[in-house]
Amino acid sequence: MSNDACTQIRTFITTKFPDVTFSDEEDIFALGFVNSLFAMELVMFIEKAFGTRIPNEELHLGNFRSVSLMADLVARQTSAAVG
């Protein structure tokens, strides 16, 4: 799940920003290309692609800094929905 989520999230970001290179662990906010519009797109993408609604308490920068942290968020949300 997590690998698959990483791939999907990475593909979404690189489709939007083809010039940017980054690892799954890297802080994408430090790279400077994430503006408020793209942040909203990221939230919407995760909610649609993984069929989840991210609750307010999970909507903080710490969960969106890197591809792998977003994949962890997805894993938590989807397991919470199942369990």
């Binding site: 083809p18 942040a39 909203m40 920068l61 969106f64």
Partner: protein
């Protein structure tokens, strides 16, 4: 209005009749008096149009966003001042639905859906660029009982009549959003008269002086994610303005078709002059193109697709710039009568210009949309 007496949302034909009979004929009066009577706002409630996208559990109708857009188009065809009220009310209602805690939703959503409470959106400040979308001049400071709000907001659509303000303020954690009742001690509402466009939208400046708020006034996440609260609301506002601009174009076409069918110059009806035909063709084409772009943006919203954000920028850019050009053509076609309060086109011209300034000015849109072009090429 009681829930049990409220009817479901009108179909589009009924909204069209409402606009034809009760709004369009009075829109110049609304503009001149800088006011939309309460009884008209109640009729909007009666038709279930304030926030029909809310789910039935909150007295909405779960109306899809494409249809919501068509409703805002219809209302915009009649009166952009009223459409502006719908725009900001929708932004507040959708935000409480998306980000509100269950208690906040219980407190507000049914009243917002029924139009018993009206919402206004308070971001812009007198001393800062609205395009920068900052809330630097408004602060909310935590104390043991909740928050203390201070600051000023300007150009607030519906500010004279709203019951609840969605206020962006700077907190320790960045920008945060608060729901503030308009009758709280320390809230002062000052009407903004004689504005050039959407004069009937009852604009106000709002001043907050040591306004005490309970902890539950905070809406949505704080810090970084508060930006998504703002972006999400502005995206819906942009969509509503785009659809309302289609309404302005339609009103211009209706006015010009009627006028040029009875007015002659040089012995021929204006409608038979080639340059009038050319302008009318441009109007029809722009209307259809703008509506298709709005429908695309609305369908992407219904699908929860993030592509809706850029599609909405594009729709609003095309619809608003077209509305300004076409309203100008409509005044030109009317000659001196275009300047007269006896015809609608002068009002359409004034109102259209507002759509190029709010919810992302034309210049800011050009930065955003052009950036997308460079991204696409780089792929």
């Amino acid at each position: 209005m009681k829930a049990e007496t409220r009817r479901g949302p009108a179909d589009l034909a009924e909204v069209g009749r409402f606009v034809d009979l009760e709004i369009a004929p009075r829109a110049n009066t609304f503009e001149r008096e800088e006011w939309i009577p309460r009884e008209v706002l109640s009729r909007v409630a009666d038709l279930g149009l304030w926030a029909p996208f809310l789910p039935p559990e909150f007295d909405g109708e779960a109306m899809d966003m494409v249809t919501v857009g068509r409703v805002h188009e219809e209302i915009g065809r009649g009166c952009s001042g009223l459409r502006s009220l719908l725009t900001v009310h929708s932004m507040v209602s959708a935000s409480v639905h998306r980000w509100g805690e269950p208690a906040q939703q219980e407190q507000w959503l049914r009243a917002l859906a029924r139009g018993e409470k009206l919402g206004a959106f308070c971001l812009t400040e007198p001393d800062h660029s609205g395009s920068d979308s900052t809330a630097e001049g408004t602060t909310a400071v935590r104390d043991q009982d909740g928050w203390i709000l201070n600051g000023r907001k300007k150009w607030i659509t519906g500010g004279q009549v709203a019951d609840v303000f969605m206020v962006f303020a700077t907190t320790g954690a960045g920008t945060s959003t608060f729901l503030v009742e308009s009758d709280r001690p320390g809230v002062r509402v000052t009407p903004l008269p004689h504005v050039m466009g959407t004069t009937a939208s009852m604009l106000a400046e709002i001043e907050f002086t040591d306004v005490r708020l309970e902890p539950t006034a905070l809406l949505g996440p704080q810090g970084w994610a508060a930006g998504t609260v703002m972006t999400n609301a502005l995206d819906l506002g942009r969509y509503s303005v785009a659809c309302g601009s289609v309404g302005i174009i339609r009103a211009a076409i209706e006015a010009c078709a009627a006028y040029t069918s009875v007015r002659s110059a040089g012995g021929v009806l204006l409608r038979d002059l080639p340059h009038v035909r050319q302008m009318m063709s441009g109007m029809v084409t722009a209307r259809d193109a703008a509506r298709l772009l709005c429908e695309k943006a609305g369908a992407l919203k219904d699908a929860g697709d993030p592509a809706t954000i850029m599609a909405t920028w594009v729709a609003k850019y095309h619809a608003s710039t077209s509305a300004v050009r076409i309203a100008g053509d409509a005044v030109q076609i009317h000659g001196a009568n275009g300047f007269s309060p006896d015809y609608p086109v002068g009002r359409l011209y004034r109102d259209s210009k507002v759509t190029e300034v709010i919810e992302g000015s034309t210049q800011v849109q050009e930065l955003t949309i052009a950036a997308e072009a460079y991204r696409e090429v780089a792929q």
